[in-house]
């Protein structure tokens, strides 16, 4: 700690700030920064998990970057990000706005909508897998032959299945965020709009949506970074299959590291994911505009 004689008051403040932040910083250091540095270090080695860790320079990186599965995995994870955002954001906003109303029936519906939040990803995946079984799933259970599809065996259909299940799991969460945000919008704005003769649709687009800007950024950040790490549902449902059609990069990293025992290559993939995640998170924040202190309730 350096002492600057010019600002004794400020220094005292910094010290106490540091003390308060210390536990959190320590945890962050031990459980986030150190492992991250470990992964970066491992990415420059060759290691099968049991032998000696050999420093091999860029070998693991060239190996990781020369594999077709890496690039396909990257492409698939980007597709996953875009598709989940496009599918989940409009639905979450609409549901959130709807559930923000104070009527009792909306409260009842809200409880139902939020149910998936209580379930773990693995449980969701196992349940849906059983429901989609061609012989003993919903199709035969309900006697609805059109439900008997090759849900997990068709490389296009499987994507629709995944996107829908992931949406089913995460839309409630984002709906919750939007619901809270919509309730924060001052009622006076809607009253003013009503006096000006704006209808419901107009109110939604002119007041609700603009007011949700910062919530949109928060929700989108979570969505984008979350999509980057989707693993459990896909791992349980498809293991990356059929073939390699759902082997997105995070899953590829896991399979490379823990099934293939190529820790060096897997670490390189992990670093790529970390950089991509940070980049995307910062990018989404930027979209919100640089002036973070701009009023959210302008005109209220």
């Amino acid at each position: 700690m350096t002492t600057t004689p010019a600002a004794p008051h400020r220094e005292r403040l910094q010290l106490s700030h540091l003390l308060f932040a210390a536990p959190a910083l320590l945890f962050f250091l031990i459980f986030a920064i150190l492992p991250l540095l470990g992964v970066v270090a491992l990415s420059f080695t060759s290691w099968n998990g049991i032998g000696a860790i050999e420093f091999t320079g860029l070998t693991s990186w060239t190996e990781a970057l020369s594999r077709e599965t890496t690039w396909r995995g990257l492409l698939l994870v980007l597709l996953m990000i875009v598709a989940t955002w496009v599918l989940q954001t409009p639905l979450s906003i609409l549901l959130g706005t709807f559930l923000a109303g104070q009527q009792r029936y909306r409260g009842v519906l809200a409880v139902l909508y939020f149910l998936p939040l209580l379930l773990s990803s693995s449980a969701i995946a196992i349940t849906f897998k059983s429901l989609m079984d061609p012989n003993f799933g919903l199709a035969s259970g309900l006697g609805l032959p059109f439900l008997k599809q090759n849900w997990l065996g068709d490389s296009t259909l499987v994507w629709i299945v995944l996107l829908v299940i992931i949406a089913w799991q995460f839309i409630p969460f984002h709906t919750l965020i939007y619901q809270g945000a919509v309730r924060q919008i001052p009622q006076s704005m809607y009253e003013a709009a009503q006096i000006d003769g704006a209808g419901r649709v107009r109110q939604f687009f002119s007041i609700t949506l603009p007011q949700l800007k910062y919530t949109l950024i928060t929700s989108s950040t979570l969505m984008v970074v979350g999509a980057l790490t989707y693993f459990d549902i896909i791992f349980v449902l498809t293991q990356g299959g059929p073939g390699v059609s759902t082997r997105i990069l995070p899953l590829d990293m896991y399979l490379t590291g823990f099934r293939g025992n190529e820790m060096g290559v897997a670490s390189a993939l992990a670093v790529i994911l970390v950089v991509l995640g940070l980049g995307l998170a910062l990018g989404v924040q930027r979209l919100g505009g640089k002036d973070a202190s701009a009023s959210q309730t302008e005109g209220a």
Partner: protein, 440 residues
């Protein structure tokens, strides 16, 4: 017992992140890893009944002999597989390393993490003779034995539903043509010919294992497992792929098999609910069908037999494929005292007659000789005797490919197998893709 449906079951709560990779890298010391004392050794075992009780009893009995004490810790299958690797890497392995032989054992042997047990077995020739011959193959790396057999045998068996076969007027096939005949008759009558949980991939792999054996004999895969150059490009591999194509063309597998998963045992259910005629599956499904299939097994409607032979092929009808059994190795970093206790356990605790009797009682065939009488007296006598005799008469017992190969190649194998069964890869493409895994 190696229970595939357990092995492949999703890793509950398995969240992989960058942190997970590093945590594994750091290596955590496991429970039971502190076996310090002079005459005590440690072993990790798989949890899950009935085997957990059998192993626990065998260790308790050994500890009472006064030849040292053995500490056992039980782990769930998937957790164990990752933990043992990490522990070995960190030099904190238990004295006795439990495993599956094959490719995994080869890695341990190459890294000199497990002891060569060949000299010890020469001193204890009677002990070696106690085990059925065909189970030693998967314990051998470069002509040296690095592991000892433990547990019960789990070959892959062609199961059939006797009721369905009777109703379509067919018999359990022992030749390729007879198999095609069953498929044709079943399809005509609107029954699924073969139940296959193709989404699980290793299920389809079992078909490849037997097809390759029947076409080219066990030598073809032996060369592949040994990593010989261009071993996957053998004409028998292409022919194996052609047979798969042929099966797909005649709609041999249940409709929607690509989406069926073995986790939920729906493939077994298809067989016991009279919706399918045949199912190629591991011997462990016998227990599953017995407990899950109502009175299907008890009524004697479950049939079992060898995989059909193929005209002009080199593989014999009696050749087996599957999991010979589980294996235990001796950690190279264990102290002499620990090793002494472990070796005493091998001889006087691990697979004694009492332990073998427990396995028979649990409905599986142990890998030691001289169990005929015990098997004849068991509830599942017909099935167990057949498995036991098949095991002893088998000219060869090829280990399941995903266990026999190195882990990286095994993962590639599963992906390529699925592509082949989806019709997305030709036999030639399959062979080429797999051949690429032989380099390096």
């Amino acid at each position: 017992m190696r229970n595939f449906s357990f092995t492949r079951r999703s890793l509950l709560g398995g969240t992989a992140g960058a942190a997970a990779l590093t945590l594994a890298a750091c290596g955590t010391s496991g429970p039971g890893g502190s076996a310090g004392g002079g005459d005590s050794a440690s072993i990790w075992q798989l949890s899950g009944q009935p085997n957990e009780t059998i192993y626990q009893d065998s260790i308790d009995a050994f500890n009472e002999l006064g030849k040292g004490s053995l500490e056992v810790t039980f782990f769930q299958n998937d957790a164990y597989k990752q933990k043992i690797r990490t522990a070995i890497g960190a030099g904190e392995a238990p004295t006795i390393i439990y495993g599956w032989g094959g490719g995994g054992l080869r890695t341990y042997a190459q890294e000199e993490q497990v002891d060569d047990l060949t000299p010890w077995l020469e001193e204890n020739a009677d002990f070696q003779k106690r085990f059925i011959d065909s189970v030693w193959g998967a314990a051998t790396v470069d002509d040296k034995i690095y592991a000892l057999p433990i547990g019960a045998t789990q070959p892959i068996i062609m199961f059939h539903n006797k009721t369905v076969l009777e109703s379509i007027g067919a018999e359990a096939p022992e030749t390729w043509d007879a198999l095609l005949d069953v498929i044709d008759k079943a399809n005509t009558k609107g029954v699924a010919p073969i139940s296959l949980a193709g989404q699980s991939r290793w299920t389809s792999m079992m078909w490849l294992e037997y097809l390759l054996d029947r076409i080219g004999g066990p030598e073809v895969f032996a060369r592949i497992a040994a990593g010989e150059k261009d071993a996957w490009l053998d004409p028998a591999v292409i022919e194996m792929g052609n047979k798969v194509t042929e099966l797909l063309e005649v709609k041999a597998f249940a409709e929607g098999f690509e989406s069926m998963a073995a986790d939920s045992n729906t493939d077994q259910a298809l067989l016991w609910s009279d919706k399918a005629a045949l199912m190629l599956h591991g011997g462990w499904t016998f227990g599953g069908m017995k407990s899950g299939g109502g009175s299907f097994v008890q009524d004697g409607r479950l049939g079992f037999g060898p995989f059909p032979t193929i005209d002009g092929g080199k593989g014999e009808l009696a050749n087996l494929v599957g999991n010979p059994c589980n294996y235990v190795s001796l950690s190279a970093v264990a102290s002499e005292e620990e090793k002494t206790v472990a070796k005493a356990y091998f001889l006087e605790g691990m697979m004694t007659d009492d332990v073998a009797a427990d396995f028979v009682a649990s409905g599986s065939a142990p890998v030691v000789t001289g169990q005929e009488d015990a098997l004849a007296a068991s509830d599942d006598a017909e099935y167990l005797q057949w498995v036991y005799t098949s095991l002893q008469d088998a000219p060869s017992f090829t280990q399941s490919w995903d266990q026999a190969l190195q882990p990286t190649a095994a993962e590639q194998l599963l992906v390529n197998t699925e592509q082949l069964f989806l019709g997305k890869a030709t036999p030639e493409q399959f062979a080429e893709a797999m051949n690429a895994t032989l380099e390096g």
